[in-house]
């Protein structure tokens, strides 16, 4: 592969990965956010209802992370290799966080050691969100690559910008989670969540602003091919600003769907801003889409089965689940994991 333009199949798989990342960020983002908010209250009723609003979805939401990982290895093995090598510790923490969180989800209703599982749920959600943000921050700084392999050290991501981005994503997911709770629940949980949105939104804006400043101070490698080359790209940050206005308006006018919808728009805008900033790199600022793509023989082998058949099924399945559980969480709903009210047995 030369450093020419990427092939149509490479662009197809790039689009698949892009959509899968966005789907993951938005979908697992809200349930990680609910996990983070879960840690900010001790009220057992609120907590159980929070769990209920995400219990039909969270497992399926994490599917998208696997789609990202599998597609990346299959279609862009060079990126898979560099990314996972560079983020050895964050990926470890992410996996452990997600595993612990998932198991805590199932075990917390078992009665025994409930405090441990509740703690695991919060910490797992927090860690998973933080390391994702930190990885984005480290990518903005640039990932050093020599001979197709990561050439930095395993703790390169421990720097001001990545840590700030980690905090930013924790807050951002919490905002998304609060929006989800407003969308899916009735008072008192709805009122509780709505009350947190303005604070979280302001915190997200503050962190994002600080991150932009630090990014420009820290711009050792981020030269040339950024926004300055593509001024039209500024449309996305502008959309993000409009979305923030929409979040505040949604809270003021008590529209239950606005905060969540507008936060989703904010995430999409942030994602596209980063995409414009990074293009044509997949690993900024060293590995391009064209150089990272697997040979056409691999991409087409993947396309005829996974691309044409499997991905539409996963997408359709996701849509069906969300459709089945649409609308407000019904009152008196017991979460799937709650023990049956009457114990059957011998």
């Amino acid at each position: 592969m030369s450093a020419t333009d990427p092939s149509a199949l490479a662009l197809f798989w790039l689009a698949v990965i892009g959509v899968a990342i966005l789907a993951y960020v938005v979908l697992d983002g809200f349930d990680l956010g609910v996990g983070i908010l879960f840690g900010t209250t001790k009220d057992a009723v609120l907590r159980d209802e929070m769990i209920a609003t995400i219990s039909p979805f969270w497992d399926g939401n994490e599917t998208w992370l696997i789609v990202v990982g599998a597609s990346l290895f299959a279609a862009f093995p060079a990126v898979y290799a560099v990314f996972l090598g560079a983020f050895y510790i964050p990926v470890l923490l992410l996996l452990l966080g997600l595993i612990f969180r998932g198991v805590a989800f199932e075990f917390r209703a078992r009665g025994a050691a409930r405090g441990l599982w509740d703690g695991g749920f919060v910490v797992g959600s927090f860690v998973a969100a933080f390391v994702q943000g930190a990885a984005v921050g480290a990518m903005i700084r640039g990932i050093p690559v020599v001979n197709g392999q990561f050439s930095g050290s395993s703790f390169d991501w421990v720097a001001p910008l990545p840590i700030l981005c980690g905090i930013g994503l924790v807050l951002g997911y919490a905002l998304l989670g609060a929006g989800w709770l407003v969308l899916k629940s009735e008072d008192p949980l709805r009122g509780w969540a709505r009350g947190r949105i303005p604070v979280l939104a302001r915190a997200v804006i503050a962190v994002l602003g600080l991150a932009v400043v630090i990014a420009f101070i820290d711009r050792a490698r981020m030269t040339g091919s950024l926004f300055l080359d593509r001024p039209w790209g500024f449309i996305f940050p502008l959309i993000g600003i409009v979305a923030v206005v929409g979040i505040f308006a949604g809270v003021r006018q008590r529209r239950d769907s606005w905060p969540f919808a507008m936060t989703v728009v904010l995430f999409v805008a942030a994602f596209l801003s980063l995409a414009v900033m990074f293009w044509p790199y997949m690993i900024p600022y060293s590995v391009t889409v064209a150089t990272a793509a697997a040979p056409e023989a691999s991409l087409s082998f993947l396309f005829w089965g996974a691309g044409l058949f499997v991905l539409p099924v996963i997408g359709a399945y996701t849509a069906v689940v969300y459709w089945m559980f649409r609308g407000k969480q019904r009152k008196g709903y017991t979460p799937a994991t709650a023990p049956p009210s009457t114990v059957k047995g011998s």
Binding site: A70, L95, F100, F107, A294, F301, T337, S346
Partner: protein, 463 residues
């Protein structure tokens, strides 16, 4: 050997994948068992099969969930610890493993949901179809894993362009001669594992005297299945041995603990290989049998490890013992299942208590055989990660330090210990409670969450 990132990464991979393989090895067989039970119920209308089905469905759901959780970690191991492998061979291994992931999620997302929740919502024939599709899905999943691993054992169908290993012929990669032997070998191993587990469960209940009709069916079906399949498995094991001899002679010599080239070659039945002096201590050998096993005549010359430069020799102790453990487990399965068939013919199967104890205690034989077989295959492939193409020591992520891998390995050990202890505890509780308990409370669970079904019922516990 020192504790460098290569060795630690190998230990970590062995740890996480050994944990993982236990669950798929069980669920491949269980899915086929469930489909068989549902088919038998449709055919005969006997509700006994329904009760057994409902019972094993819970075990299946929990095992499947554990397999998914431990499988997520596997999806990232190739990049985190073996990034040179991922980069150099990713255009072949990536699509193969990608298809495995996609297949598994297709299965979970669609037909598994129907099997878990759709009993009352779909017609019986469709429910049976869903069971068959789940079973087919688990087999497809194993197909991709074995295609990938067979390619690592004997790379075929690739071309090297500018130092990059790229796919040339996908048919050769996915359905080559090695794959046609190793995939059936693994599928049979999974069926045998499940068969021994089911018959052991039946024997357990018969010893305790509970759920007798279900227990009798489990014992008979399980033992019958093993009795029929174990000779077939031994035949495929033999074919596997021939491929190793032809394509990986150094691995074959390691399995045989044959240090020196011999003519005629003896067969080492058991010994303590001494890799430092390159000899066998306390060896029990049969003259000339080694030649016969490898070449089919009593005088053939068989190559020993000395024929290879030291840097190309695999370790001996693990392949040597793991292979013998695997074969030993196979012989146990053969003895138990055939003697069980004999007792059944004499009408004494359920009343011979000592045999019920033997059948019960041999429940782990399949699991041990699967693990031992994989250890033989994987350690015997060393020092190569992709045989003849890429050495393991050159495949590791270059930026890793010893501290990094010590940290990650310690984390995996701790977390897996906690989580799998709970998982196995719940599986044990389900097995202990038996099929007599009502399992109808399946409402409010989404198909995306297999764990929840099993958790819900296992939480009821004896009061």
């Amino acid at each position: 050997m020192e504790l460098d990132p290569v060795l630690l990464s190998r230990v970590q991979f062995a740890f996480v994948i050994s944990f993982h393989i236990i669950f798929p090895a069980f669920t491949i067989g269980l899915a086929a068992w469930l489909a068989t039970l549902e088919g038998a119920r449709l055919w005969t209308g006997n509700q006994l099969y329904r009760r057994i089905f409902d019972f094993w469905l819970k075990i299946f759901a929990l095992s499947f969930g554990m397999g998914v959780v431990s499988g997520i970690v596997m999806a990232f191991q190739f990049g985190t610890n073996w990034s040179v492998l991922a980069e150099r061979t990713g255009s072949i291994q990536g699509p193969l493993l990608g298809y495995e992931t996609f297949t598994a999620f297709m299965l979970e997302a669609t037909f598994f949901g129907v099997v878990l929740l759709g009993r009352d919502r779909v017609p019986p024939w469709f429910y049976f179809l869903a069971c068959c599709m789940v079973s087919l899905g688990t087999m497809f999943s194993s197909f991709w894993i074995l295609a990938n691993n067979s390619w690592m054992q004997v790379p075929l169908g690739h071309v090297v362009v500018d130092g990059k290993i790229v796919p040339g012929d996908w048919w050769a990669i996915t359905t080559g001669p090695i794959m046609r032997i190793r995939w059936p070998h693994m599928l049979l191993a999974a069926f045998l594992t499940t068969g021994m587990g089911i018959s052991a469960t039946g024997a357990w209940y018969l010893l305790r005297g509970n759920d007798v009709p279900e227990a009798r069916a489990m014992l008979r079906w399980g033992l019958g299945l093993v009795a029929v399949m174990i000779p077939v498995q031994m035949f495929f094991g033999h074919l596997t041995g021939i491929y190793v001899l032809n394509y990986q002679p150094a691995k074959f010599a390691a399995i045989e603990a044959r240090w020196k080239t011999q003519q005629p070659a003896s067969e080492v039945l058991i010994a303590l290989p001494d890799p430092f002096e390159q000899r066998n201590l306390f060896a029990l050998e049969i003259p000339r049998l080694g030649s016969f096993i490898a070449s089919g005549n009593w005088t053939a010359r068989e190559i020993g490890l000395e024929a290879y430069p030291p840097e190309d020799r695999p370790p001996v102790i693990i392949p040597f013992f793991a292979f013998r453990i695997m074969v030993g487990m196979g012989l146990i399965m053969l003895a138990v299942s055939w003697f069980g068939a004999f007792l059944r013919w004499r009408g004494r199967l359920e009343s011979t208590r000592w045999f019920l104890w033997v059948a019960f205690l041999s429940f782990p034989s399949g699991f041990i055989a699967v693990l031992a077989g994989w250890f033989t295959a994987e350690v015997g492939r060393q020092p190569w990660v992709v045989y003849g193409l890429l050495r393991t020591k050159d495949a590791v992520t270059p930026s890793l330090t010893t501290g990094d891998v010590v940290l990650s390995l310690a984390c995996y050990v701790i977390v897996y210990t906690i989580i799998f202890a709970f998982g196995l505890f719940f599986i044990h509780r389900l097995l202990r409670d038996g099929p007599g308990r009502d399992a109808s409370d399946r409402t409010k669970i989404t198909p995306a969450r297999p764990l929840a079904v099993a958790m819900q019922t296992s939480a009821e516990g004896p009061q």
